[in-house]
Symmetry: C2
Subunit: 430 residues, 2 copies
């Protein structure tokens, strides 16, 4: 399926006009960055990169796409011919997926002709803004949960394809599993889920429903115990599944008190190994509030797939440099108030002091690398239009998940406070 029309019309009309002025073949550098973090956050997580690289490889104009553009006279016939042969042949570099980012971090750099690179703006931002919003929220939930696993189960609270991206982004941010089957198939994210209230309501009694579930899924399954009365249901659950019952799930009510009494009841019934999972409208703050409660795992829906209040990461895609007539690089930047940007092709280092990250140091690639201790943040992602396979598919997703853990381990402990605050690292320009 072509991704070429997942694009704002103005990318195409700019191409059309640039072909007219002859400027379309100027070599350009576009940069993706966020002007600020959502205001309660101390760091952001880059996500979507691996997905984006695959979507760029499908960014081709076939008969369907060209026919639409021609019928609606969106671009000239000359431009239609140009698009028929389009594929991105430039270079893309950027932050590793799963890394932390801060205001101004050059998370993606796209190098190519204006014509080739401008067309990718909308797709790049759609993917990075949504996936990074989810991962940035998810990472806070993961740190709030400590060692207890969290499953993503918000597919019903976001667009049906965003649900797949969301499951992947949450997994990269440290969630352990998802309810979304397509995320399992497409990206190797572990999937989970057993039953909803409708299953209990379908049967003539709660006992009949529990028995049917245990017969099909075994006693290690998770039984949902809040369709009618929680105390009765817990007793019934252990009666039906035995003390080897895997888990009970609670999806409503006042969780802190409910969980404590269910734990006591399970223990008194001898089901001391039966876990308790809770899934009722959780976000990072509700998870933190359950720190002292005997919860064994969490399921999070709405708040993670909607970025916990910040459903778009606010990244922008800006032209920062282009060749002039003499073939020399010229830095460019919009000058207007409030949205001013820093021009030039950039590199970035996460500087370290005593093994802890101390700043996001950004410098121009035309300058020498500053002599500081630290980790280079920008890696090659796509060379001459071909993506590096290590960032793609299940393997790339798992690598991003591992990298997030490493990147988190470098940050100062104050990064993990849930309260509002400044970015935990200052962004410095050299």
């Amino acid at each position: 399926m072509s991704t070429a029309l997942l694009t704002d019309q103005y990318e195409l009309t700019m191409l059309d006009a640039a072909i007219g002025s002859g400027r379309h073949e100027r070599q350009c550098v576009f940069e993706v960055f966020a002007r600020r973090l959502p205001d309660s956050r101390r760091y952001g997580i880059v996500a979507g990169t691996g997905r984006l690289l695959e979507l760029i490889e499908e960014f081709r104009f076939g008969d369907e796409e060209l026919g639409f553009l021609a019928r609606n006279s969106i671009v000239s016939p000359t431009t239609i011919d140009w698009l028929a042969n389009y594929r991105f042949t430039g270079d893309i570099s950027g932050y590793r997926e799963g890394d932390a980012y801060f205001p101004g971090s050059p998370v993606l750099t796209v190098e190519g002709t204006f014509a080739e690179a401008v067309l990718l703006e909308t797709l790049a931002l759609s993917v990075l803004n949504y996936d990074s919003a989810v991962a940035s929220a998810a990472a806070r939930m993961v740190s709030a949960a400590g060692a207890r696993p969290i499953a993503e189960m918000g597919s019903r609270r976001t667009g049906e394809r965003s649900a797949v991206a969301s499951a992947r982004a949450a997994y990269i941010a440290g969630f352990s599993a998802t309810s979304n089957l397509e995320a399992g198939r497409s990206w190797g994210v572990p999937t989970m889920g057993t039953a909803a209230h409708s299953f209990t309501l379908l049967h003539d009694s709660e006992e009949e429903a529990f028995q049917a579930q245990v017969d099909a899924l075994g006693p290690s399954t998770t039984l949902l115990v809040d369709t009618y009365d929680v105390e009765n249901a817990v007793e019934l659950a252990v009666k039906v599944a035995g003390t080897g019952l895997g888990a009970v799930r609670i999806d409503s009510g006042d969780l802190a008190t409910q969980v404590a009494s269910v734990r006591a009841q399970l223990d008194s019934l001898g089901a001391t190994k039966t876990r308790i999972t809770v899934t009722n409208d959780l976000d990072e703050h509700a998870i933190a509030a359950l720190r002292a409660a005997p919860v064994d795992s969490f399921g999070v829906g709405t708040s993670v797939v909607t970025g916990s209040g910040y459903p778009a990461a606010g990244m922008v895609y800006k032209l920062v440099a282009h060749h002039n007539e003499a073939g020399e690089w010229v830095s460019v930047a919009k000058k207007s108030t409030a949205k001013a940007t820093v021009g030039g092709h950039k590199a970035a280092i996460r500087t370290m002091e005593n093994g802890v990250a101390s700043s996001e140091l950004i410098y121009q690639t035309v300058d020498a690398r500053p002599e500081v201790e630290g980790r280079e943040l920008i890696v090659p992602l796509m060379t001459a239009g071909t993506a590096d396979a290590q960032w793609l598919g299940d393997g790339g997703t798992l690598a991003a998940r591992d990298h997030r853990e490493d990147a988190m381990a470098e940050l100062p402990q104050t990064a993990f406070r849930l309260s509002r605050g400044e970015p935990v690292l200052p962004t410095l320009y050299r």
Copy 2:
């Protein structure tokens, strides 16, 4: 492309267990409704219905999908065989797309066997929750803008496929156009867009850029005038395009004062017909604040595609009735606190008094229709697995857009206040 795995795993494990207990063939009624509106809103707009009907027709399990389920032992081999022949053969009815909804409105009713109907839960909610969140926010922007057109340009602020859904939902809610080309191709939404700041920065001067754009797109184009200095750019724009210049676009700064001075400048240059469009971080409140300003049209991005603070509509999909062993209907409902639901297969009437809507009246289909004046809200959408063509494609989208206008015209004027308030119609159960 199959939509079958855009599904929470528990739908499949419930099916598996219900096949085991023999209850999977019980006739069931599932209902989609919202327990409440987002708390600042006085009505919601149903959107996504036409899109959902098309996605349900693609809900089939092919080798890819069955292979994934089998390899991961998610369901038994018996269930795999059952799924291989799956297609939904039941009936779906519901509110017309574009209609208003209120707490408890039965916006979608799915009738079929438990097995056939339970599988559609996740997909139905993903589509209706996202699209309705966008349409509900968009409708408020449309009423705030009055007669002035609004274009949707938020593709970069939501997942790349949600962007297409968003453009369609905003159009249904009364937006006039979108920047998203795929929404044009797939759903017939009018598309728009001319140039971004990068186009100006690419060229050696603003004048060269404006000239290139006018050469390619004609003087009726929209020139972006805030890359460097707005006053200089407006003068240049009229110099290059002439007084027939279509429009200027302002994307930054203090819009109210900026717009007034640009209008005065355009008029003094003789460009009295040149329109002014503004696109800087607008939502319904910012649009309302510009009521007295000489703005001719708006472009809205982030806030519309993220539901202006409420990115998911909060609809749920609940089993409300099923056949018992004797083949008689039994109403069912979850009893637990805070999330209790009303059982039974329902119908709904928007009651009218003196030509103005007065309540959302909900009654059980087994009872006689209450003798009240009003409009029946539920229409057939899919019969025996086949969608009614009038709700699909470009035609269905346009019909939904027209229907929204009619539905809005029925509501009391207080519906259109932007301040927080109660739902404008009470929901009554008969």
